[in-house]
Amino acid sequence: MTDTVLQFDNVVKRFGDRTILDGVSTSVQSGEIVCFIGPSGTGKSTLLRCVNGLETIEGGAIRFEGTPVQAKQRSIIDVRRRIGMIFQHFNLYPHLTALENVMLAPVIVHGENRKTVEERARGLFEKVRLSHRINAYPAQMSGGEQQRVAIARALATNPHILLFDEPTSALDPETVGEVLAVMRDLAVEGRTMLVVTHEIRFAADVGTRMVFLDGGKIVEEGNPREMLAAPRSERARRFLSTISNAAH
């Protein structure tokens, strides 16, 4: 009943002589919300960036909806057009208004009609609760607002999967909640999401699967609540106790 959207097959990524991803294999089914957790520098973000070819891989293979993801090939553009990405630092286009940010890709990349796109964009602003900020420039908005615009921008092309790269890490604490709330809404809609995050509570509440990475390897994966309650590996147990201490 489920389709495999994404398949990682023994993925290896190196920066120079440093191995960032050391043989990662897993797959993502349609409708899954997979949260990647783990200590800093263990390759969580890198893994996410390999999915849409922002990084090249040195070994193994990634398949997205059956297509091999090859960062240097022209085919990558077709892959990217079906993927939405949300960055830690938002990366909104500063020379465009919020509305123009959301409309750009559907109009120029997907060649959609401007009117249709604008209508859909307005709906997306409602969804992320920013209808009143439609004509603001990114620099005029708070971090939380910018990130919600970035989510609307990612949704505008009707992506088959959403990649969240530490979406709340650059936010002021008081705006984290509003971004997580929007992400919860998306989860309820049944969207396929890959989330790199340090928000353990969010991962436990919303995630359908939790993947713990350490040293470029998947150490443990499974049901988030079960994993939080009783991690099987020593490393996951230590990591989870550190961050749950920090959270309280």
């Binding site: 849409n52 070819g53 077709d78 993927i83 990405m85 990349v109 420039y137 990114p138």
Partner: protein, 225 residues
């Protein structure tokens, strides 16, 4: 004497237009060439990067007059191709403008944060879509101010054309001076005309910058990364 000078006014105006046209053409070629060289310098292909670096350093280090001599006297010798003084001057100025503009454009493109390139790529844009809609609009605010300076420099350097006998503004002034018994007045007049043209360009550039500034103010924070 002033009556005589007055009768030369149409001649000087025409010469001023020739100078403006000549340097504008060189700047345009320099902007296009500079863009290509800047992209080559940012390429991932090492030989291309080295070639662009060599080009930039070469033309930055050699006096324009020498380049002009090479083009005007050298090209006919080597390629058997006779160049008019106008063509030779345009080429020499354009080569120099290209090397200067390539640095200006590179600085502009590199001022656009890595996150912008990634956001555009992640959205599935082709290289040219990304350049046209995301990178260049942001780079322009960095590229524009020094470009005005390059245009002014090119316009002043175009006076070198008088040495190979091309009748632009300086040469016209010198010819007029000869008919007036080596008077000093035509030189003063020349300086005044150059000043007026370049001051005009400065003002125009400043107005253009102000128009950009409205947007720049809106897009300062949260842009980078």
């Amino acid at each position: 004497m002033s009556a005589q000078l007055l009768s030369y006014t149409p001649l000087l105006l025409k010469a001023a237009l020739v100078t403006i046209w000549l340097s504008w053409l060189a700047l345009l070629i320099g902007a296009v060439g500079g863009t290509l060289v800047a992209l080559a310098r940012m390429s991932t292909f090492l030989p291309l990067r080295l070639l662009a670096l060599l080009f930039t350093e070469f033309f930055r280090s050699i006096p324009i007059l020498i380049v002009l001599f090479f083009v005007f006297f050298g090209v006919p010798l080597i390629f058997g191709l006779d160049l008019s003084p106008f063509a030779a001057t345009t080429i020499a100025l354009a080569l120099h403008a290209t090397s200067t503009m390539s640095e200006v454009i590179r600085a502009g493109l590199e001022s656009v944060g890595k996150g912008q390139w990634e956001a555009a790529r992640a959205a599935g844009m082709t290289y040219w879509q990304m350049m046209r809609h995301v990178i260049v609009p942001q780079a322009l605010r960095v590229i524009l101010p020094p470009s005005v300076g390059v245009y002014i420099a090119t316009l002043k350097e175009s006076s070198l054309a008088s040495i190979i006998g091309y009748v632009e503004l300086t040469k016209t002034g010198l010819l007029i001076r000869e008919t007036m018994g080596s008077s000093f007045v035509p030189l003063l007049l020349l300086a005044l005309i150059y000043f007026l043209i370049n001051y005009g360009i400065s003002l125009g550039g400043a107005a253009l910058e102000r128009r950009f500034h409205v947007n720049t103010r809106l897009m300062t924070a949260g842009a980078g990364q």
